[in-house]
């Protein structure tokens, strides 16, 4: 019997699945087992679309279809949780297993806090993530920096600080991520700033870091992060879907080192990116200038895992006059004030911005400042955000009754 805090190497019992899947196909086997055994009604994962740069979200109810999702897609820069809220009724009446990157995992919690997702009905499978590269950017980088036709690449991955590609002719090429990113290529800017590499707020955290020895490349390192995760893993092993063994002790150390190195890199990127924003007035001026290009496509709002209001304030005429393009700064101020306390740095608002406004950078910079002030860390547990400490009518009454001018005085 496994328990929270355990580590195992795991791989698919089925040889075909072990071959098709990444690192022994443990995740695919777990998903397939969850579906077959009716522990879940559906699996939400990504499958390969037109090529390996195309990650397509797919909701699966037939266990046989899990095979389509086997393998890694590092250009999958999607955010799955909002699809659960929009198209699966927030898992309120169905049980779903879902694969998640760090940002996805954090989004799940923030949506759950806002009653948009019922986490009780969800099995969260973390896929350790060193960052993802947007499809267009990946293709451009492979063409320009690797001097390789992106259509001839059959595999890409990030390993040992390098972005590595494998071509049809079995040629390996690797370039240091630092070098790529210094020239504006590489992972999405928000991924560069990310410090959620292994999301332990999931039920099971799965990846290839720390798999060494004879199982290297043939097994997945699984960290059991909840009793729910332990139960799924145990059942899959018991029913013969999955094989496991103890991890090599040195593997555990290596995994820790990889994670730490990634976190340090994240810290460095934050310092650099936030530093470039300047401080105080300079930062504000920069934000005003960049956001002034906005064409009000609403994609930042539509795809933000923190936005959930049916009636969005940006569509209230007394706040933002309808139809005006470019919209006034109030449009962006509404977003900053509503989102920044809980921004989980998923990057969608920037990646999908029609005018390439670095929205995610601005929002994340604000979130980090607020975290320093209030100590609230979004996405790691079910704690409510700072601003939820007060309710507006109550707070207004308090201000009026006490003549206090300290808004949101959490010490009172």
């Amino acid at each position: 019997m496994s328990t929270k805090g355990d580590f195992v190497y795991a791989w698919a019992s089925d040889a075909g699945m072990a071959e098709r899947g990444e690192c022994g196909g443990a995740v695919s086997s777990l998903l397939k087992y969850a579906l077959k055994s009716r522990m879940v009604d559906a699996v939400l994962a990504v499958k390969k679309g037109v090529d390996l740069y195309d990650a397509v979200p797919t909701l699966i109810t037939d266990p046989a279809d899990i095979d389509e999702t086997a393998g890694s897609l590092h250009c999958g820069t999607l955010l799955l949780p909002k699809l659960i809220t929009k198209y699966c009724n927030g898992a309120k009446d169905t049980k779903i297993a879902v694969t998640l990157k760090g940002c996805d995992a954090k989004a799940m919690y923030e949506l759950a806090k806002r009653n948009q997702i019922n986490l009780d009905n969800i099995y969260m499978i973390d896929l350790n993530c060193g960052g993802s590269v947007s499809p267009a950017q990946a293709r451009k980088m492979i063409a320009e920096k690797f001097e390789t036709d992106p259509d001839t690449v059959i595999r890409e991955e990030i390993d040992k600080g390098q972005f590595i590609i494998l071509t049809e002719d079995h040629e390996h090429k690797g370039i240091k991520i630092d070098e790529l990113e210094a020239e504006g290529y590489g992972r999405r800017p928000n991924c560069q700033r990310c410090k959620t590499k292994i999301s332990r707020q999931c039920d099971l955290a799965c990846g290839n870091w720390g798999v060494i020895g004879e199982k290297a490349g043939k097994a997945t390192f699984v960290e059991i992060c909840s009793m729910k995760g332990a139960a799924l893993l145990d059942a899959a092993v018991k029913e013969g879907a999955l094989d496991t063994c103890e991890p090599v002790p040195q593997g555990l150390i290596i995994r820790g080192k990889v994670e730490n190195a990634m976190l340090k890199l994240g810290e460095k990127c934050r310092a650099e990116q936030f530093g470039n924003l300047g401080d105080g007035d300079d930062r504000l001026k920069y934000i005003i200038e960049k956001t002034s290009r906005c064409i009000k496509c609403y994609q930042c709002i539509e795809n933000c895992p923190i936005c959930y209001c049916v009636e969005c304030s940006t569509k209230k005429p007394h706040l933002v006059p309808p139809g005006e393009v470019n919209p006034p700064m109030m449009f962006h101020l509404i977003r900053f004030s509503h989102i920044s306390d809980s921004c989980i740095n998923c990057g969608q608002c920037e990646e999908l911005c029609a005018m390439d406004i670095p929205n995610s950078l601005f929002m994340h910079a604000l979130q980090v400042e607020m975290e320093k002030m209030f100590g609230f860390v979004p996405g790691i547990n079910m704690d409510l955000p700072t601003l939820a400490l007060v309710e507006e009518p109550t707070e207004r009454n308090r201000l009026s009754d006490t003549k206090d001018d300290q808004i949101f005085n959490i010490f009172a």
Binding site: A55, I295, A354, D356
Partner: protein
């Protein structure tokens, strides 16, 4: 519980953005980003974002209509087809015109071309046939330009192409914008050159001095001026003079495809041709058409349809398979996301049925059959297959720009009675020109600008005694329209702007007629 993503192409402008349609229980319920899109990297403008809403557009038609006792009455497909075939035989080829929508698929347009052949007429046109055809390689490459001159309000007409101008600017490119007013596009520029009706070519000449560098572009959006081709010719001239690449962006999503296929008889000539007695219109708003016998096949009850003799209900973009060719001449796939409603057929299928009823079957079972004919007969499309287009579509190599010089731009003559120059300008919320039918069937887009407005300088607002936010009536020699006044920065005194939109009884054309500019006066009303 189920949902799936189906990637498709935006039916609005010619940038050629792709996005996903979200399908639940067989029906389109939302749009979603397509991160792998080759043109727009998953991003869209508001029109792309809300385009899915038109599948449930309130003006959609579901049954054929036929004019009886001067009013349109529901009828069967058989009755409608019988009427069309009988009538078609009454006219000589030269008396018949066929106008294709440049928002329809290549397959739709090609099938109509075949119908034109059956009816033995050269009057085969589309609203894209304005005498301008110029692509210059990939839109994405504009981001690497070192100097760009934009003519027109690209940020509102082709937002995701304007994004590339912003990218280039961020990388240090010099950007100049020639536009009617200080528009959102001018915010991307370091240099703004104001054009007024009649002096567009002089303004463009001024921009020539600005072009330097090895990798310069001249981007021609939709002109706010009449005599568009002449204005485009001036733009092409400065591009050629300075060795800059020249790009002209059609207003319509498949404007380039329509021309490639041959719907290229100048649209103005077809409209003005008094010999034409029968007009067949595929999915495009032409206003009331004066011909004796008018057939309209459309997804929506357009003004042309309301005034037609026979109306045939057609599918929207989300209900059809096919291809379209964007401004950079990239042929891309459109995937069907939902079945057309019962009784509704894709454009190509309607044409196929008419050809059969005329006793001249085209032999097309699927859009792919038509595409095979396109690849066999249309230059640049050789060897393409649906499968080969799945990934990034196919970018046809740039060709020499073709601009037919038309009538000279004319200065708008103002006088005491009509002292102000009015120019029609694009908005991001309404499809330009014929695409207005599409946007007005997307409620979220309509909600942003439900009413028409006129933009005026503070100086003129004071002079003519009108107030920001209040109603005023705009009057020209053609007609008048009640609008909301918007006092705006960046509008030259003596000039005013009005959005090109057509919704219900609202149409800027009430004032401008068939022109984009005219002289007006403005009076406040209660």
């Amino acid at each position: 519980m189920s949902f799936r993503y189906v990637s498709t192409l935006c039916p609005f402008c010619s940038t050629g953005c792709s996005f996903n349609l979200v399908v639940q229980n067989g029906a389109v319920v939302a749009g979603g980003p397509y991160h792998r899109s080759p043109v727009n990297d998953g991003k869209t403008c508001p029109k792309g974002h809300y385009a899915y809403e038109m599948t449930a557009g309130k003006e959609r038609i579901f049954t054929p209509l036929i004019r009886k006792n001067d009013s349109l009455t529901e009828c069967s497909w058989e009755e409608a087809l019988a009427c069309i075939t009988t009538k078609c035989k009454e006219y000589a080829g030269t008396e018949i015109a066929l106008i294709a929508s440049a928002h329809a698929t290549n397959e739709d347009i090609y099938s109509l071309k075949r119908l034109a052949e059956i009816l033995i007429t050269d009057n085969f046109s589309s609203p894209a046939a304005v005498g301008i055809d110029a692509s210059a390689g990939s839109i994405a490459a504009i981001a690497d330009a070192d100097c760009i001159v934009v003519i027109g309000n690209l940020a509102l007409t082709h937002p995701l192409a304007a994004r590339r101008v912003a990218n280039a600017k961020d990388k240090g490119a010099k950007v100049a914008v020639v536009d009617t007013y200080l528009s959102p596009t001018t915010k991307l520029a370091s240099e703004f050159i104001q054009a007024t009706p009649g002096n567009e070519r002089e303004a463009i000449r001024k921009a020539a001095d600005f072009i330097v560098g090895e990798n310069a572009y001249v981007l021609f959006g939709i002109s706010a001026g009449d005599a568009e081709a002449s204005i485009a010719a001036a733009a092409l001239e400065i591009a050629e003079e300075k060795g800059a690449k020249f790009f002209a962006f059609p207003a319509q999503s498949n404007g380039r495809g329509a021309l490639d296929i041959g719907a290229s008889t100048p649209i103005d000539a077809v409209i003005a041709d008094e010999k034409i007695k029968a007009c067949y219109i595929m999915g495009t708003e032409m206003g009331p058409v004066p011909a004796e016998f008018v057939v309209v096949q459309d997804a929506f009850l357009s003004v042309s349809a309301q005034n037609a003799d026979v109306v045939l209900p057609a599918a929207v973009f989300a209900e059809t398979e096919g291809t379209a060719t964007n401004a950079e001449r990239r042929v891309q796939r459109i995937h069907q996301a939902q079945e057309p409603p019962e009784g509704v057929k894709p454009h190509w299928k309607i044409v196929v049925d008419i050809a059969s009823a005329l006793g001249e079957p085209l032999g097309y079972e699927t859009p792919e059959d038509i595409f095979a004919d396109i690849t066999a007969n249309i230059k640049g499309y050789e060897g393409l297959t649906y499968a080969s287009l799945e990934k990034d579509g196919h970018l046809i190599s740039p060709r020499k720009a073709a601009v037919t010089v038309g009538p000279e731009p004319v200065k708008v003559k103002t006088n005491k009675k009509f002292p102000l120059v009015l120019s029609m300008v694009p908005t991001i919320w309404h499809g330009f020109g014929t695409a207005g039918t599409l946007s007005k069937n997307c409620p979220t887009l309509v909600q942003e600008v439900p009413d028409i407005w006129v933009g005026i300088s503070a100086e003129d607002a004071q002079k003519y005694n009108v107030t920001n936010g209040r109603n005023a009536v705009v009057i020209s020699d053609t007609g008048e329209l009640t609008v909301t006044v918007k006092v705006m920065d960046g509008i030259a005194p003596g000039t005013t702007i009005i959005p090109a939109m057509r919704m219900g009884n609202i149409c800027a054309c009430e004032v401008t007629g068939r022109r984009k500019n005219c002289a007006v006066r403005i009076e406040e009303v209660d």
